[in-house]
């Protein structure tokens, strides 16, 4: 067995399989289901703090109406955990072939029951903070527990059975009664009777991870893992994402919360948007530099053709045509820059962000925007982010170029000899 086979069979393959674990998959799909609300909600932050000089009419208008402008943000991205919890419960129940709607609703009930309503001026108010990034880990925990209770009741047949004449929709609502009762009693016991603030408890547990994930190593580890998987042609983000994305969403949510107060001192460097706009320019492995080299400097006809078909998708951060076409997959010559480039640009971008040369990201533009535009929007309109993107593209080009040249030379030679071969056959 060659070394590459060994890595594929013993390491990348099994690791990729782990990411397909049922609960991880439900977390992944739950978070993804909330992304449209996070993306759209986050754009109201740009509207609230338009990237124009402070004395412009638009800026003055926004400043005056900031509370109203941010209402759509407050009811979407700011309480993203509420949306995610429904999506998580829905998807987990679906994977067990249980009623997805019950799973989603049960998860939301369990999450809400971790929060105590407050009586303010004779009206009940629900504090929203824990429905946002702060509450995400609790939501993951209680959503999974509730759906497991639903499943337990179903498999052990702990349900109220209705006679067959009863319409199925009616009997289904009775079927959910016992699991709903168990979940509500359990959560009330924890939150109301014992007075345990689950959010506080879970925060103690996860805070070391939250801190570590935002350190330079916490940023480099997912970067290296993602390119490692892609080197075997496995979708790295879809393997690393389920584990890392909850952390990334927490960073984004907390940055957005601070940005919504008008402060520039954002607490976190590494939301997913950091990776998306500063590192994965042109797709995983920062391949835009390679694409440029292929278009302008290929002597090999094949590489030029692949470069041409890859440039438009590459501008929109889709690089499968290059990854499989060049190919980078299982091609040591191109894997080396494919791994080195994002490591270098990650370190540079991390330093640039933590030292305040470039603003941290807190807005989530759709990932298929061209990188300079995406980086500009993600930082709430920081032109220095665009400069960083251009520098990172240049770095990508410089690192890929020598490896590309060697590979191109090899390919061009092969094409020539093939041509010569077919030439002789023709003349014969």
């Amino acid at each position: 067995m060659s070394f590459v086979d060994f890595l594929e069979k013993k390491l990348s393959g099994p690791m990729a399989k782990i990411s397909e674990q049922r609960h991880l998959r439900a977390i992944r799909d739950g978070v993804i289901s909330a992304l449209p609300f996070i993306i759209v909600g986050s754009f109201f932050l740009i509207l609230a703090f338009p990237p124009v000089p402070k004395d412009w009419a638009l800026a003055l208008w926004a400043k005056k109406h900031i509370f109203e402008i941010l209402i759509p943000y407050r009811l979407t991205m700011f309480i993203m955990t509420l949306y995610i919890s429904f999506g998580l419960g829905y998807n987990l129940a679906k994977s067990y072939k249980l009623d997805p709607l019950s799973g989603g609703q049960l998860s939301v009930a369990a999450l809400l029951l971790t929060i105590t309503p407050q009586l303010v001026k004779g009206q009940f108010m629900l504090p929203m903070t824990n429905l946002g990034g702060h509450g995400l880990f609790v939501a993951m925990l209680v959503s999974i527990v509730s759906v497991e209770i639903l499943r337990f009741c179903k498999t052990k047949r702990i349900t109220i059975k209705m006679p067959e004449q009863v319409p199925s929709s009616v009997s289904r609502s009775f079927e959910a009664l016992i699991p709903v009762a168990i979940v509500i009693l359990l959560m009330s016991l924890v939150t109301v009777v014992f007075g345990v603030d689950l959010h506080h408890v879970v925060e103690q547990v996860v805070s070391p991870f939250v801190k570590a994930g935002d350190s330079i190593f916490g940023v480099l580890v997912p970067v290296i893992l993602i390119v490692f998987f892609w080197s075997f042609g496995i979708h790295g983000d879809s393997v690393v994402g389920p584990v890392a994305r909850p952390l990334w969403e927490v960073y984004l949510a907390k940055n957005a919360e601070v940005a919504a107060t008008g402060s520039q001192n954002l607490p976190y460097t590494a939301p997913e948007t950091f990776f998306q706009w500063f590192i994965w320019i042109g797709g995983s492995g920062a391949t835009l530099g390679l694409v440029l080299a292929m278009i302008f400097f290929s002597r090999s006809k094949y590489l030029k053709a692949v470069g041409r078909t890859g440039v438009i998708p590459g501008i929109f951060n889709i690089n499968e045509p290059i990854v499989f076409g060049a190919p980078i997959v299982l091609n040591p010559l191109l894997i080396i820059p494919f791994v080195i480039t994002p490591i270098v640009t990650t370190i540079l971008s991390y330093v640039a962000t933590t030292t305040g040369l470039v603003s941290a990201t807190y807005i989530m533009p759709p990932w298929t925007l061209p990188a300079p535009i995406g980086a500009y929007l993600a930082t709430g309109g920081d032109w220095r982010a665009v400069v960083l993107v251009v520098i990172n593209i240049a770095i990508s080009f410089v690192i890929y170029f020598p490896f590309f040249k060697i590979y191109d030379h090899k390919m061009a030679k092969m094409e020539q000899s093939e041509q010569a071969d077919s030439g002789t056959t023709l003349s014969m």
Binding site: G233, I234, S238, V306, E320, P321, F324, G325
Partner: protein, 103 residues
């Protein structure tokens, strides 16, 4: 008319390969409808009368779960080889599709 479903992570990248297969099929005079979808949407899409399901190489770790869904709907399902997963991979892709369908 043959209907082929491509499955990748989000349905974005396989959309590029879709046109490669369509072009090659046209060359060989086959009428073909090809759609790219993500693994998340597969279950909603699977019952729309597909003749074959092909799984993109970068999500081959999900091949088993896709196959299970395809088997339940009794649709032939196979992986797309990495070399075929490029805009220039049409001929190989069509060949693999024919092998999958025993054509």
């Amino acid at each position: 008319m043959m209907k082929v479903l491509f499955v990748c992570s989000g349905g974005m990248s396989s959309a590029i390969v879709v046109s490669a297969l369509k072009k090659e099929a046209e060359k060989q005079g086959m009428e073909m409808e090809v759609l790219a979808t993500g693994t998340g949407e597969l279950e909603n899409e699977v019952d729309n009368g597909w003749d074959a399901i092909m799984v993109a190489p970068q999500v081959r770790h999900r091949l088993d779960s896709v196959k299970k869904i395809a088997d339940e709907a009794s649709i032939p399902c196979g992986p797309i080889p990495p070399q075929a997963y490029t805009p220039l991979g049409g001929p190989l892709l069509l060949q693999k599709l024919k092998e999958l369908l025993n054509m």
